[in-house]
Structures are given as structure tokens and as C-alpha cells.
């Protein structure tokens, strides 16, 4: 199976598919309501920011795509970090909650929702790790 480039439209769709076929995610996120920007900040060979949009609702991903202009959407949550940090998270080498707690990733949005849905966040990362991903750096 060919690897998919991290941050590409194809990669976002692959994550969308992983979430929508995961019973564990559906169970964990059944009360989750809120869309996301996953923002990859430029670093090294990656010179432009990437904005990955996902509309997550009650255990499903209703819509997902890459946007070039961040004003395209105004999501409830924005999680951002440098490319190298996202790479470690997707490779399951960096726990995303620890990354958030140490400021390696940053999150804006309703923290009450987040603190009550930690399992859903973990399942999203597990879905990421199931995608055969290649990285630009």
C-alpha cells in the first residue's frame, strides 16, 4: 500500500475514513460536538502552514478537507504545532496530551469539552497511526 503524504487532502480523507470506521472512536466521541482545525506550523522544508479541517460530531466525521486560507472556516477548536511535533504524534512517539501539557502543541477552544472527552482525543491519534504516512521531513 502506497504511503500518503502527511497534511495532504488524501491524508485528511484517510483519517476521515479511519474515524468513520472505528467503533472505538464512535463510542468515545459519541457526545462530542465541535469542528477542528489541525494547524501544522511551517518548519524546515515545510515553508507554508497547513490547515486540516475536520467536522467532528457525535462520533462521526461529517466533513473534512484541507484549506489554503484559514478564514475559510471558523472552527470551535484549533490545535496547532510545528511539523516535527505533529510527525512525532502521528508516529505515536509523542503522547498528544503530554504534548499539549508541555506546550509542544497548543489548543484553543472549550476546555471543558476537551477535559470530558480525553478518550476521543486518544482515538483520533490512534486512527492517525493506522494511516501509512510519509513525511516531507
Amino acid at each position: 500500500m502506497a504511503k500518503i503524504t502527511f497534511g495532504s487532502e488524501e491524508w485528511v480523507k484517510a483519517l476521515d475514513n479511519e474515524l468513520n470506521t472505528s467503533q472505538a472512536y464512535e463510542d468515545a466521541a459519541k457526545t462530542w460536538e465541535g469542528d477542528f482545525y489541525f494547524v501544522v506550523d511551517p518548519e524546515g522544508a515545510v515553508t507554508e502552514p497547513m490547515y486540516l479541517y475536520m467536522d467532528l460530531w457525535h462520533g462521526r466525521c461529517r466533513e473534512s478537507f484541507v484549506v489554503a486560507d484559514k478564514s475559510t472556516k471558523n472552527p470551535a477548536f484549533v490545535m496547532s504545532g510545528k511539523y516535527s511535533k505533529w510527525k512525532l504524534v502521528v508516529q505515536a512517539k509523542l503522547d498528544p496530551i503530554q504534548a499539549l501539557m508541555t506546550g509542544q502543541l497548543k489548543l484553543k477552544g472549550n476546555m471543558v469539552m476537551v477535559m470530558k472527552n480525553v478518550k476521543a482525543a486518544q482515538e483520533i491519534v490512534r486512527a492517525c497511526t493506522r494511516i501509512e504516512t510519509e513525511f516531507a521531513m
Binding site: 472505538a24 463510542d27 468515545a28 503522547d95 496530551i97 503530554q98 499539549l100 501539557m101 508541555t102 509542544q104 497548543k106 489548543l107 472549550n110 476546555m111 471543558v112 476537551v114 477535559m115 470530558k116 472527552n117 480525553v118 478518550k119 476521543a120 486518544q122
Partner: protein
Amino acid sequence: MWFFNSPQIVFGEGALSYLAQVRGKRAYIITDEMMVKFGFVDLVKQQLAEANIETRVFDQVEPEPSLDTVLRGAQLLRAYEPDWIVGLGGGSPMDAAKAMWALYERPDLTPDAISPLEYLGVGQKAKLITISTTSGTGSEVTWAFVLSDPAEKRKLGLGSRETMPTIAIVDPQFVIKMPPRLTADTGLDALTQAIEGYTATWRNDFSDGMCLQAVDLVFKYLPKAYANGGDAEAREKMHNAAAIAGLGYINSMAALAHAMGHSFGGAFHIPHGRSVGLFLPYTMEFAANGGNYRYADIARFIGLSAPNEKESTRCLIDAVRDLEMRLGSNTNAASLNISRADFQAAMPKLLDYAENDTQIVASPRQPDRAELEKLFWYAYDGKAIDF
């Protein structure tokens, strides 16, 4: 990248007198009515008076403090404008004090939004002193706190690195008269923190030693403190063990026994230590059945010998069960007079809340929903985990 956080810890006989050296103007003592009745509040006020610090007392913290209580307390803090907040009592008053401190400084927040995921700016108006009067929660040395949401019958594990107490007073004079049941419950809380802190996926070189030492102290001194409350050495060692366990787990992470204990305790109003201690051996077995034998290190450290890691792990689990039985603790949920029908009715919420408890994220083996339900039922019936 990770952190090791700790307050300044003043420990041992006479530690309370350090308060006379604190500099400030006004202190708000956050506590409960029992602390007033026992005269503990007066002891604290006397020391602060020597430091020329005015005091006011909020003594309405209930066991498992609610979101409403901390909102009410924060309002009083804003009116009095203290530069010190003193959390005096068991885990509940100290936890409430942390939440009130954050809300005093950030009135725009709701208590359940106090998270370690963003900068809050706590500590601009006041600092926090914690004084523990039980030996187990470790709340005196941690930034975490547990609040209850009575409407949802849910306990919420919250906190921010910024809600780490500034000074922790660990003075054994407060625990010498603790009743045996409270001694056992709180001691098992310390044991659960230490074992989970050592085996959580967020463990690290800095927290490991703390956890090992705490387990050793609990196994040596908790039975003595339980059997003879007047044993001053056992009381002091257990008081230290609780703080050391707190430091160990807060700089690593707790795990599945805490997640299940919070969920169960919230649903059936079971004290925290009793609840997490009940689930500890079951979650250890579940982790071990998944090939996690780090428990063997603990077994070796406390002098349990077995020929290999698997059997050492088994020895430790048996030792935990044996300790719980010697302390007359509940080793299954049914023994808490919870009917099977009530347990079944509560199960959907037990699962939802345990699955999304913050303490579950670093468990050495994470159950899926079906496994979690089985774990609850095995713990209800007192069956050894075989999956």
C-alpha cells in the same frame, strides 16, 4: 520533554510552626467544620497571627467538594482579597482551595475549565499553603484536584500546573488521632497513587524513586498505623509516604484504578481512597495479563521474591489484596451494599465517565468499552481478572 513540579515541603514534627515565618497580610483558610471542631483551625490561626497575618475562615467544604462550593468560596476570596490561601484538611478542603485559588485569580473561568492545557495566570494575587490532616490523598503536594458535579453524579479530575501549592506542611501532629477506617482508606489511596505512578506510561526517572519509596513505606507502616493509631513513628512515616506518593504520581500519572474509582465513587458516593483502592488489584491484573510486568520492580523493591517477572507481579498483586484484607477494606463492590440491579443500572454512566476520565490516558493497558464493563463486573463480584 516533561516537568517535575513540587511545592516547598516542610515536614516532620513541628512543621506547622513554619507558618509563623511566612510573610503576608491576609490569609483565607479553606477547610471543613471538623477541622474547626478538632481545634486544627485555631492552631493554624495562632501561627499565622505570629506572622502578623490576618485570617478569615471558610469551613463549608463538604466531602468530595462540588462545583458550586468552589464557586461560592472563590466569591468570598474576591471580597477579602487574601495574599495567602490555606487549604487545611483532607483531600477535599485542599482540592477545594486549589480550585478557589484559580477562580479567585481567573473569575472568567468555570471550575471544570481549569486544565493543564493552557496558561491560566494563577499566582498573581495570592499563593497557596496546603496542610494535610490525613495521610493518603497527596493533595498537599499535587496540582490536581477532584470536584464533583452532583447534577451529573460525576467526579471531575481537574487542575493545572499553576495550581501546585506554594508550600506544603506535612506535620504528623494532625494525623495521630485519625480513626482506623480513615487511616486505611487514605493509606490505600497513597498505595494506589504510588503503584499507578510507577507503572503509568508517563512514568519517568524523576518520579520512579518517589513511587517505589512510597510503596515501601505504605507496606511497612500502614498496618501499624491502622492497628495502633498511637504509633508515632508509623503515623509520621505514613504521613510522609502520602506526600511522596503524591509527588510520584503527579509527576507521572495515575491510571485505570483512579479512572474506575472516580466513576464508581461518583455514582455511589464512595470515599476516594476506598474506591480507588478497591479497583487497584483488578486493574493491576488486567495490565499484567497484557504483558505489563513492571510491577515486578516494585515487588523486588519491597522484598517480595519470585523467580521471574510474571510471578513477581503476581506476588505484588497478592500482597495488595492481602493488605486490603488485613485493613478490613472492601475488596469487591458488592460488599459496599450495592445491589446488582443498581450496579447494572449505573453501568452506562460508569463506563462513559471512566472512559473519559483524565486519569485513564496513561494506563499501561487501556481497556476497550467491553473490557471495561467486564472489569467493573469482576470487581463487583470479587473475581480475579482472567482476560
